[in-house]
């Protein structure tokens, strides 16, 4: 697990490894760190969102979330190789990957999660750990024969090499240090959040999914096909995770360990925001992304964590948060059944 400390460096800016000037002396740096943290945090949030969606609908912590997303992204790489990544092709591939992810999620729920629904709770954990390992092997088997890491294109909306200011041909304050792709990441994440919000609160299907998550028995009595809702929940979650993978691949480049770095922070984000709160996942992700960036760049008095300690620091934040609110920021207290 080496190289974890490098995550913040690669995901944020080409930061120096010495403590930087404090915010009041260099506000532009501070602002760009915030924005970069927002971008990183969005990716953590997307993956965390998948985890939360699955947890909310099936009470299962999907440890394989990252590896499934990685698998789909690798498929994307092959498709890019075959079809090219120009404009319309990219979106076609994006769409195909979403469909693939959805199908995978639904399939997994139906085949291996459903049988352990009635079993002791920890069994489902074993299943997702098994899935984690299965997908790792598959990904290595199919794509590790060639050379790694592989490059992956950013969306046609913005390059991952050019800064945002290139759009305006003007050195926008602070924006000079954010790549276009990072900005696109923030926008797409916001779009996903809006889409999901609309789905859950304004559609009959979304209402049925929420109902199933709360009370499957009553849902059956309403005529809701609970099995189908569960599959749908997993499909949606896997799709969201895939988006996260597709967006992070240009930044971290496609390797077998790409999602491993992300998933740890994503879990922290999901727990931080509250495992049954979708907006909490995004909020948690953003908090961790921003804190990570700030902590590895600035020193707090005599203490300088630096990038190597960014993971322990994030976990420390998580730990403290859980002590104050054991079910996360927006999580609901679990009902104590006697």
């Amino acid at each position: 697990m080496e190289g974890l400390g490098q995550v913040s460096a690669t995901l944020s800016l080409p930061a120096t490894f010495l403590a930087a000037a404090p915010p009041w002396q260099d506000p532009e740096l501070f602002f760009s760190l915030l924005m970069a943290g927002l971008a990183t945090g969005s990716i953590y949030g997307l993956v965390a969102l998948g985890i939360v969606l699955i947890y909310r609908s099936t009470d299962v912590l999907n440890f394989a979330q990252g590896e499934m997303a990685l698998f789909v992204t690798f498929v994307g790489w092959s498709l890019v190789l075959a079809l090219g990544a120009g404009g319309a092709n990219y979106w076609l591939i994006f769409f195909i990957l979403l469909v693939l992810a959805g199908a995978m999620g639904a399939f997994v729920e139906r085949t291996v999660i459903r049988p352990v629904e009635k079993a002791p709770v920890l069994n489902a954990v074993i299943v997702t750990l098994g899935l984690f390992v299965i997908f790792r092997g598959l990904t290595a088997f199919i794509w590790a024969q060639g050379e790694l890491p592989k490059g992956f294109p950013a969306t046609p909306l913005g390059s991952h090499l050019e800064p945002v200011s290139a759009w305006f041909n003007h050195d926008l304050w602070g924006f000079a240090r954010i790549t276009q792709h990072q900005f696109v990441v923030i926008v797409i994440t916001a779009a996903v959040m809006v889409a999901l919000y609309l789905l859950f609160s304004h559609t009959k299907l979304g209402l049925a999914m929420r109902a199933t998550a709360q009370n499957p028995l009553a849902s059956r009595l309403m005529g809701i096909n609970v099995g189908r809702m569960l599959m749908l929940g997993w499909a949606l979650a896997t799709m969201v995770g895939a988006v996260g993978g597709i967006l992070v691949a240009p930044i971290l480049s496609l390797d077998l360990v790409t999602m491993l770095r992300v998933i740890l922070f994503a879990f922290a984000a999901a727990v931080l925001g509250g495992l049954d709160s979708p907006p909490g996942a995004i909020v948690g992700g953003v908090i961790i992304g921003v804190v990570q960036n700030l902590a590895s760049t600035y020193s707090f008095g005599p203490v300088f964590f630096g990038p190597e300690l960014s993971l322990p620091f994030a976990l420390l934040v998580l730990g403290l948060m859980l002590l104050i609110r054991p079910t996360g920021i927006f999580g609901r207290r679990a009902v104590r059944r006697v």
Binding site: L4, V127, L131, G137, L138, L311, P312, L315, L318, G319
Partner: protein, 403 residues
Amino acid sequence: MLGIDWFWTVILMAVAASGAVRYLPILPERWRVPASVAVMLAFICWMPFTIGTFDTSLLTKAAAWTIVAIGLNILTGYNGQISLGHGAFVLIGAYTAAILTDSKEHLSFIDQAAWPFWAATIMGGLVAAAAGLAVGIPALRLSGPYLAVATLGLVLALPSVLTKYDGFTGGRLGIRRVPKPPVPGFLEDWAQAFGGDLSRDQWFFFLALFAAVAMTALAFYIVRSRWGRAFVAVRDSEVAAAAVGMNVARTKVTAFTISAFYAGIAGAIFLFTFQGSISPETIGIILSITFFTAIVIGGLGSIMGAIIGGFVVVFLPDLATDAATSIFGEQQGKQLWPTVYGIVLIGVIILMPHGVAGFLHRLARLRPAQVADAARGLPAALRSRLGQTLERLSWGGKDTGRP
């Protein structure tokens, strides 16, 4: 080739023999369990003299990991708290033992002389137990998936901390060349008296085995004691336990501390009998999660299950690799072994929801009438019969934590 070699043959013989003694009506009822344990132990003691050095060292590792499994089972199986991060306690135990036995001046700050290995081992357990105490208290606030992620964070964060603060931990490289305990004089003489020879690897194995047996015996005692009953009571219902006057917090923290102690001892044993060095990367997060997986597969709430689990940790990856390479060929097999491993995991847990130990327990309880019943109905309503039989096979009442 799929592991049907001498090593596995001996294991199969051991299992068959001790199983026969346990379940067949050869001995009077009262003697069966101790006799089967004795048979198993006899086989295990024979093994290092008949299988190769490599397999012996694997068994040694299995013995060490069994200790972790038993401790973790006390926490998760008997007390119901999830820990995915027990690897951290193993690491702490190993580091403590390494630091104490190192004779270089700047590392042993306790006193200048190096500690004897058995003292270092116990100290490793105690330091890990202290860490377990420190973790167990905040863990009171968390449960379920939140606790799982928090403990995962523990084993993730520890290596970075050990690397960064390298005052006496040796930083990234860790501590190398830890002195392994030499074969004691009297054992060498003893072996020679039997016309044989005791190699270092065999000695290490017996050392680890001794520790494993001692810790297992301790576990039996704990589980049957008031503490053991308290653990189970709190697991089944904290509210009810509190209502009858149990100190729930103290119980839960004690479970954490005890399981951390086990992990620390195991870490030290692992260090002295197998690894010989320790670095932040030695106990990775995969291994830590594997401990958890192993005890669930082996069977929660059952000491036998934990022992099976210890074996699973060490041998399942190899078995999976063997299977993968024989099906897919050498190169691709090496890539695909995790997939085979995962399929086995999922298959086992779906078919045996209460782990291997739970399944065996049910199997042993089957009455011939039930089996005949199932067979009779087979041609007719196949699926419903099968369903009813499998339902009967599934664990009916609450787990009482019997091994």
